[in-house]
Every structure is written in structure tokens, then in C-alpha cells.
Symmetry: C2
Subunit: 273 residues, 2 copies
């Protein structure tokens, strides 16, 4: 089975894909649109994509693509984001003077740089790519901050594990495929819907759930691409494909410009309270 | 007057600051937290920060900082994001073989790379920084994709203007200061509020506006930092500081864990329909 991810091998998406489907072959794609297109066209059986991070927020482009492409969510998974200091083999910890990583990862490891003031933080466009860079270029005074998966992928050595400042750092990943078949235990539904920008319309839209005692675990508004001043909403409702949920969605369709069910799947229990 | 921005001189934040306060001195800060701290401590009089982009979505960290820091929104501004091909002086268009920029900017200029297939796209951590890089290193076969402001800042030459694929590319910027004095013409209020995760609570919260015919232009939920499974909501209401709005916010405070008014300011009219 082939699953597509966005970004390089050794990335957090690769790590999440390995946890969700340990035996699948991971196909890295440069762009997110390519990931979705490969799933929709059947070139790969599935994809694993990040949708939101507890510190950095939503991946807006992936919400847009869920709406635009013919794919369906089948599972969700919360990956604890652990940053590691990774060096080329043979490089000793006290030889490290430069540390490369994506600016967001560097910023999430500020305590590390405070503890080692002789070490310079250097921004790089990608976390896993920074490990490949220091190893391919054979740098002897450099390390990178990246997922553990990147050390495995490129033959680096983890000098320090878990150097992120905030341990409440999770990314929610989704497993997508072309099939719309709903699996067992599905108790969560993700939807996208558009509303005309008229007073109170969101209140009316939410009433279809409140009046049926259906709880929402997330709601978010996004400008509709190409239509400034029109909004699309993304919501997760804590309900599977039962009659009450179907009634609520039919009621919502009376109010909304359009409603798209993005997936019906089991809610992940792995993120700790 | 000094205003802080996050990022390098020549960035889109610099461009927005120049449009909002043409005569102010711009103080670049490496990190967003530093921008907010400088405003809160009085080290600068104001700051200009991006809060959402029409394609890339919200800047989650800035929502968190608006909630955490003692600052107040006084104005908003929609900047049209125009990407430009910028080269060192004397470099001819047909000599360009490599183009550096932030991956997001590279991805927003795909038509350019399709038109010039001999040109290689190279990711760099920052748009304005990529202009500084090619000029400081005196590269003769390279250009960068960046705001026009970066050409002015570092002495580059704009070879091609407006090479972004999607012209519906806007970033909304906010002007922050420490003062809570509400200026004339304020007809928009930004708030943050937290809700207990109980069924229907968001519906109840929105009822305080719907029952008073107050319209919302935006709503977004974010995980509350350090409290997994608790959510904070950010909303913009199309109303200034009048009695109806004050009643609605008092009513909201009965339902919410907390309510913070992030600013009351005139709604920008500049973004075209």
C-alpha cells in the first residue's frame, strides 16, 4: 500500500504515517495539492496530512483542499511533536557550534539555545531537510533540530531528545482515501459549509446541532478562495452517521449555500487530557 | 514615533507599516513575542502585525499573543500581497538561473516557474532575507521573490512585478498600542473568549449577538495554550463601543470562562469586493 505525504522523508508527516500505517510505503510529494491529486486519481491508496497543531494552529491550505478535492477522512491521529538535536555520525556534542532547522522549530526550542549560548541557530526551510543538509555536506561543527524519523532516514545520530520547550505540542493528522465507505466505530464527522454573510446566519447554522444536542469539537471560519467576503466554515461534530446527525445535516443544507461531508471516522483518544 | 514589526526590514510587515504610518521609524524584531513585549513595556509606541492571509489563513501565534499581552488594536489594514522578481543591480533577466524565496512565496508563483523552466526555485527562510542574501553575496545568476519594499531596502532591482498566481492574495494587518482609548469611527470590535467544552455552549455564546442583531465578520476556535481540550474563540463583531455591544459582552461574560476585548477600531474598507 502506498501513502502520500507532503514534504521530505523523515518529516513529522512521515512519522505520523508510520504510526498510522506501519507497513505502508511512504511517497513524498513536494506540494500539498499533489498529495490530494494523487489520492483522488488513485495513484496512491491513501495520504496522511497534518490539519492542525496545538501551538501553530490550522493548516489552512489543507482545509481548502479537503473542500476542493474528492477525498474522504477515515482516521485521525494526534502526534506528540518532539524536537531532537541530530548530528552527523561521529560529531561530538561539544563540537556543535551551528544548529539548522525550520524557524518554527528553532523558536520552539529556545531553552536549548539559552542553555548553550555558544551555539548559533540558523534558519533552514525544512526540519528533515536540515538533517539531510548537514549529513550530505559532511559538516563537522553542525547539528539540526528535527523529528527522530529524520535521524533514521538520513543516518544521523540523536544527541539530545525532546528539546522542545512546550510539551503540549501536538499535531492532528488525518488519513485520507478516495473511498467514502464509513468504517466501524465512526463517531466524529467533519464538515465544511458556506454561509451567506447575513446577520445571525452562523447562529442559525449552529442551531441545527444545538437543538438536537449534538456537540461540536471545533469550528473555524475561512475566507472562501476567490470570493472575498464570503466565508466557509469547518466544523467537527461528535457524532457518527446516525439518523439524528443526518437530520441535522439536512437541516443545515436548508440554511447553507452548500454542505460537504469531509469524513466520518473514529475520534482519536490518544491525546492526553 | 517607533513601530515594531516581526521579521526583517523589507518584509510585507514593513510594507504594511509604511502604508499605515508613513513617517514612523520601523524597528525589526526577530520574534513575535518581542514585538508584543516592546509595545506592552512602552519601548515602542506601536506595532504592526499580520493576523490573517486570505490564502494561508490565520497567524495563530498572534492570536495567542493578543490574548496574553496588554495591548489593544487601533486599526486594521488589508495589504494586497504582490510578489516581485528582484535581482542585484546589473543582473540581466536572461542571466537568472536560480530564484530564492520562502517556500510559501515560491508556491504562490508557480506560473512564473512554468513560463521560465530553465530557472530553479530554491527555498530560503525569508522573502526579504533572500533579497539581502543575493545582494550581499553578489550572486550574478540569482534573483529573489519578495515584496517591492525589499528591493528599496537592499538596493535590488525589480525585474518583474506582480508575479503571484492568485491576485486575491491579501493579508490583514493590525496596528497595536498600549493605550485603550477608542478612536473616532470605531465600528468593529475584536474579542477573545473561552468556553467550557459543554454541548451547545457556542450556540449560547453566539445567541448574545444574534438576539441583539449584532453581526459577526469572523469566528475561529483555537486550543487554549497549556490546556488541551479547552478552547478559546476569537470573534470580530461589526459594532463599536455602544450600549447594545456592551450589553452583549456583559451577557457573554455570564456564559464564558473569560472575555477579553482585544480592540475597538474602524473596519477597513480597502479590501475590494
Amino acid at each position: 500500500m502506498k501513502i502520500a505525504i507532503q514534504g521530505e522523508l523523515g518529516s513529522f508527516s512521515h512519522e505520523a504515517a508510520g504510526k498510522m500505517l506501519p507497513r505502508a510505503k511512504v511517497v513524498p510529494c513536494a506540494r500539498s495539492a499533489e498529495v490530494f491529486d494523487r489520492v483522488a486519481s488513485g495513484g496512491v491508496q491513501a495520504a496522511v496530512i497534518p490539519i492542525e497543531n496545538s501551538l501553530a494552529g490550522s493548516v489552512a491550505e489543507h482545509f481548502d483542499l479537503l473542500l476542493a478535492r474528492d477525498v474522504f477522512i477515515h482516521r485521525e491521529f494526534h502526534l506528540r511533536i518532539r524536537h531532537n538535536l541530530i548530528a552527523p555520525p561521529g560529531v561530538k556534542p561539544n563540537a556543535v557550534r551551528r544548529v539548522f532547522s525550520h524557524p518554527v522549530a528553532l523558536d520552539q526550542c529556545r531553552n536549548f539555545f539559552r542553555t548553550y549560548p555558544q551555539v548559533q541557530a540558523l534558519p533552514f526551510y525544512d526540519t528533515a531537510g536540515s538533517v539531510r543538509h548537514i549529513i550530505e555536506d559532511g559538516l563537522r561543527d553542525a547539528a539540526a533540530i528535527a523529528p527522530k524519523q529524520a535521524a533514521t532516514q538520513y543516518g544521523g545520530r540523536v544527541l539530545l531528545a525532546g528539546i522542545e520547550d512546550d510539551q503540549q505540542n501536538y499535531t492532528r493528522f488525518l488519513l485520507l482515501s478516495r473511498s467514502k465507505k464509513i468504517g466501524p466505530g465512526a463517531n466524529k464527522t467533519s464538515i465544511g459549509f458556506a454561509l451567506k454573510n447575513t446577520p445571525g446566519v452562523l447562529f442559525k447554522a449552529l442551531s441545527v446541532f444545538a437543538l438536537r444536542d449534538i456537540d461540536l469539537s471545533k469550528i473555524e471560519s475561512r475566507p472562501l478562495r476567490g470570493h472575498p467576503w464570503e466565508y466557509v466554515f469547518f466544523a467537527d461534530i461528535l457524532r457518527g452517521d446516525d439518523e439524528t446527525a443526518r437530520n441535522a445535516l439536512r437541516h443545515l443544507a436548508e440554511i447553507a449555500e452548500f454542505v460537504k461531508v469531509l469524513g466520518v471516522y473514529p475520534a482519536a483518544a490518544s491525546r492526553p487530557r
